[in-house]
């Protein structure tokens, strides 16, 4: 079918002078970082650098197992854990000022006419900083979140995206209220015109 069965994506590291000033978020103020390893449901990057503000990755439609299993479009538990790790790093090295919002954003994109674009954002940095445990890759907490979210999403029919979105949004609000999930709204020309909070 020509689809890749591996995720792909990039991290974007801020190089400007004011990390909380969104007016400085231009291409010239970000360095791109590529993954070193690609898997069906994960990407491995070099160690997380300071000022890593944005992550964007692609969910393939199928994994590489035999027979292949469909991969859900909505963010996974490991996507949530990765966002938590990035927020903690920014809060440690470039703490957000009281009047600002933590700008760490993770985009999750899927392919095709029914493809979706989601963004995980932070509405309460301190809530995320206060989360205890190992959210890093191969950490027990990260794996347990992945298992919990999978058990929430997989029994929902694969094409019932609304129910999957509702489930993941409820999961976040009940377990990680410092995080929010948004969905991109596209116009007929394929441009994002706004974001809807799920």
């Amino acid at each position: 079918m020509g689809f890749t069965t591996q995720e792909d994506g990039k991290r974007f590291i801020y190089t400007g002078n004011d990390i909380n000033n969104t007016d400085t978020y231009t291409d010239s103020n970000f360095n791109q970082q590529s993954p070193t390893i690609r898997e069906s449901d994960a990407l491995k990057f070099p160690p997380l650098e300071n000022k890593t503000l944005i992550g964007a990755h692609y969910h393939p439609p199928l994994d590489d197992s035999s027979p292949p299993k469909p991969i859900r479009k909505v963010p996974s538990g490991t996507d949530i854990a990765e966002h938590i790790v990035m927020v903690k790093k920014i809060a440690e090295t470039d703490p957000t000022l009281p009047t600002d919002i933590n700008q760490v954003t993770n985009f999750v994109v899927s392919k095709g006419a029914s493809g979706k674009t989601y963004a995980i954002r932070t509405n309460n940095e301190q809530d995320v900083v206060n989360l205890e445990g190992d959210f890093e890759i191969d950490g027990e907490k990260r794996e347990d979140i992945a298992d919990a979210v999978a058990d929430l999403i997989l029994p929902i029919p694969v094409n019932d995206i609304d129910a999957q979105e509702e489930a993941i949004a409820l999961y976040l609000s009940e377990n990680y209220p410092g995080l929010s999930l948004y969905e991109a709204v596209y116009n007929s020309e394929g441009n994002i015109v706004t974001w809807t909070k799920l």
Partner: protein, 200 residues
Amino acid sequence: MKHIIYTLILLFSINSIAQQIVPLETEYTTNFLERDTYFKDINGELDKFIGTWKYEDTTSNTVFEITLSKIENTESAHSCTEDRLTGQFKLVVNGIEQYNTYTNDYGKMIMGKGFNPTYTYLSDGNAIRNPPSVNRYHMAIVEPSFVGFLHSSDLTITYENNSGVEKINWNNEVDKAIRVVDNQQVNIYQMPLEMELIKQ
């Protein structure tokens, strides 16, 4: 001094109230998405897995041995803790030891997950949830040459007792980790991905 003791007792009481204890095997059934809970192996469901297990294949001259044990009260999702299996293992091929975690520390090589459900995938992409079983435990395992890829392993061990002969059916489903620079898979296992191990 009295004040300090009262404070300590109060703090201990609050902590005890905050974390309820429930049987480990109910984590993915009645207590799914529970918070502030200790999923404890109250009913000893992990005990049947504890001990030394061995796989031997005379054709390929391969011997794999693992000793499983229980660790208590480890961190889990949603402010919970749980008891888990862990293990030490070694692989010998043609009489030559390939690795041995009993005697060498290579880093984090194995992780217990729990009595998780499984899923049967249908041709239309939907998945049927199969409930957890106390004879089926989920883990992740790696080998020393690719430490850091535990998350790519989905190991299911299923306990069987056939007329007193205790066995574990081992099925390790591996998500291929592809190195971007040369498109090569980095997590190729030396140990068999499927095997039957006998209790020693």
